[in-house]
């Protein structure tokens, strides 16, 4: 007799092969095989995963329409079943999949909108992490500030795009008929964070974006300021640091050498 281990292996393989052969020994009440009954399990798995993706990527879903989204998500799900049981982590590879999905090639900004939504979800579930105020830095001698490395809140995510992703996202989060999309006016960089109860998403100007990207990469305040000024000569470093504190994004710092 076949062991349950072998049986279960065959059952699982058949679930993921759309239109594939039915495992033997599975029957309806007349003791005969029933592809329609097995299809319930197949649909539950694939459509269930697609529904989960629709919840995780609501704006992508609105941009392409429900039917297109479900077909695209089912395609992804069949080839990329979850590796673990925590469904809110599922679909990390979906933005990359969208980028290479030929039917979506007409919407070149779609993958970046998906990256934005992925970042939003990660921020939503990120660990709690109390922020600090700027007083701690004021105790340092001014000449030591350059070397200071700020520790940022674990929810901080930055998404840079050649398209106006923040504008597109904001327009499609609202109820009602979304406005037309002009992908032309240039790229935007989004800062996503959740220092308190709710996720915050804001567009960052070029200087502030470079400043934050450099800090996230682990550089000190001096090096980050240089990167920001290279991108935007008018960047106000003191104000940039102040904003990070007022947004609740600084949770600690290393004084540096």
């Amino acid at each position: 007799m076949t062991s349950w281990s072998e049986r279960q292996s065959g059952f699982g393989e058949a679930l993921l092969e759309r239109g594939g052969a039915l495992p033997e020994g599975l029957v309806g009440p007349d003791r005969k095989p029933s592809p329609r009954r097995f299809a319930v399990y197949r649909n539950n798995v694939i459509l269930g995963l697609a529904s989960g993706l629709a919840e995780a990527y609501p704006v992508v879903c609105r941009l392409v329409g429900e039917a297109f989204f479900r077909a695209m998500a089912a395609d992804y799900a069949a080839g990329h079943p979850p590796s673990g049981p925590l469904m809110f982590t599922y679909g990390a590879g979906f933005p990359g999949f969208i980028e290479g999905f030929p039917p979506a090639a007409g919407l070149p900004y779609l993958a970046d909108v998906a990256r934005l939504e992925r970042a939003w979800l990660e921020a939503y579930h990120a660990a709690e992490d109390p922020c600090i105020g700027p007083e701690a830095l004021q105790a340092l001698a001014p000449e030591r500030l350059e070397a200071v490395r700020l520790r940022l809140h674990g929810s901080v995510r930055i998404v840079t795009s050649d398209f106006p992703v923040v504008t597109i996202w904001q327009a499609h989060m609202a109820e009602g008929v979304p406005p037309g999309i002009d992908p032309g006016p240039g790229g935007e960089t989004a800062l996503i964070s959740r220092p308190g109860a709710e996720v915050q998403l804001r567009q960052m100007p070029a200087g502030a974006a470079e400043f934050l990207l450099s800090l996230v990469a682990g550089h000190g305040l001096g090096a980050a300021a240089e990167a920001a000024l290279a991108a935007d000569p008018g960047f106000d470093v003191a104000r940039g640091v102040g904003e990070l504190f007022s947004l609740g994004l600084v949770t600690g710092f290393v004084p540096g050498d």
């Binding site: 007799m1 076949t2 062991s3 349950w4 281990s5 049986r7 279960q8 292996s9 059952f11 699982g12 393989e13 679930l15 993921l16 020994g25 599975l26 029957v27 309806g28 009440p29 007349d30 003791r31 029933s34 592809p35 329609r36 009954r37 097995f38 319930v40 399990y41 539950n44 798995v45 269930g48 995963l49 529904s51 989960g52 079943p81 979850p82 590796s83 673990g84 049981p85 925590l86 469904m87 809110f88 599922y90 921020a123 939503y124 579930h125 990120a126 660990a127 709690e128 992490d129 674990g154 959740r194 109860a197 709710e198």
Partner: protein, 293 residues
């Protein structure tokens, strides 16, 4: 031999109606403090590091008893249980102190990955031993007695040698676990297997039942035109399931009863109305019982 000396505390949910907690309803529940017996959550949705799910669950747990319902442990699967997942469950139980922890007689973990559904198993001596070993392991790991839920099934395995009720009763006898009786699953399974759901309810080991589930199902047909019910949790509880529920509480008495509505989640008022209907059914059964006995 059944081991009656396990130090697991008995389930302690009030014998009232509760509902599945959904993010869409967090704010309204806290604002209106509805009179309900308990809330139930899917454990896996609260395994993130932080954020709004934990903030809201903490606030709701301060006000209501909680039932923790796992959907991903794969107790019926041939693979060893996921130790990391057991540790996460233990962490949630320690943090939120739910009155009850329940899981399914089903599997979801496979070589290809996690399949996100409650998949069926054959009922044989081999799988009986496997499930009992897994239930023992779960109860040790989470430090308490668990409830095991009967499945919705769409097919049968030709190699099964045990009847589903006997199989479930034997698991409860050997492991000391309690049972979660999903009455909608009884309706779905019995319709799909062409068995009598009333007879299923009458034969069920009600003494081990610590909680009841009610939910909505979809209706389809198989290739021979026979009814094929699908456990969808996306609509109100169907009429025949309410009748089966009345039969259940007549047999087993009042039990904590959950309304499950996980997809196409309705407005809070509609969900609450379903819970009120379950409480009315419990009151009516009790009244009829008092008159007749």
């Amino acid at each position: 031999m059944p081991d009656q000396t396990r130090p697991f505390p008995a389930p302690d949910l009030p014998p009232r109606a509760g509902v599945g907690l959904k993010p869409q309803h967090y704010a309204e529940i806290l604002a209106t403090a509805p009179d309900l017996g308990f809330f139930e959550v899917h454990a896996e949705n609260y395994m993130g590091a932080g954020g709004p799910p934990h903030r809201y669950l903490t606030a709701i747990r301060e006000r209501y008893p909680l039932s923790l319902h796992g959907v991903a442990l794969s107790i019926g699967g041939p693979r060893p249980l996921n130790r990391d997942h057991l540790a996460r469950l233990r962490g949630l139980i320690d943090r939120y102190q739910p009155a009850v922890f329940s899981e399914h007689l089903a599997w979801s973990t496979h070589d290809a990955g996690y399949l996100n559904d409650l998949l069926p198993l054959p009922y044989t001596d081999e799988t009986l031993q496997l499930v009992c070993d897994h239930v023992d392991e779960v109860q040790e790991a989470v430090g308490r007695r668990m409830l095991l839920e009967n499945p919705s099934t769409y097919l049968a395995f030709t190699e099964s040698t045990w009847d589903e009720i006997d199989f479930i009763a034997e698991i409860a006898r050997r492991t000391g676990c309690g049972l979660l009786l999903d009455v909608n699953n009884v309706q779905v399974t019995c319709t799909n297997q062409m068995r009598d759901p009333g007879y299923y309810i009458d034969r069920y080991p009600h003494h081990a039942v610590g909680e009841i589930h009610l939910g909505g199902h979809d209706e389809d047909r198989d290739e021979a035109g026979r009814p094929l019910l699908i456990d969808s949790h996306d609509r109100p509880v169907d009429g025949p399931v309410w009748a089966l529920y009345a039969r259940t509480i007549n047999r087993g008495g009042r039990k904590p009863t959950l309304i499950e509505w996980d997809n196409d989640v309705p407005a809070w008022a509609e969900l609450q109305a379903e819970a009120h209907r379950a409480e009315a059914a419990m009151a009516q059964a009790e009244w009829a019982h008092d008159i007749l006995v």
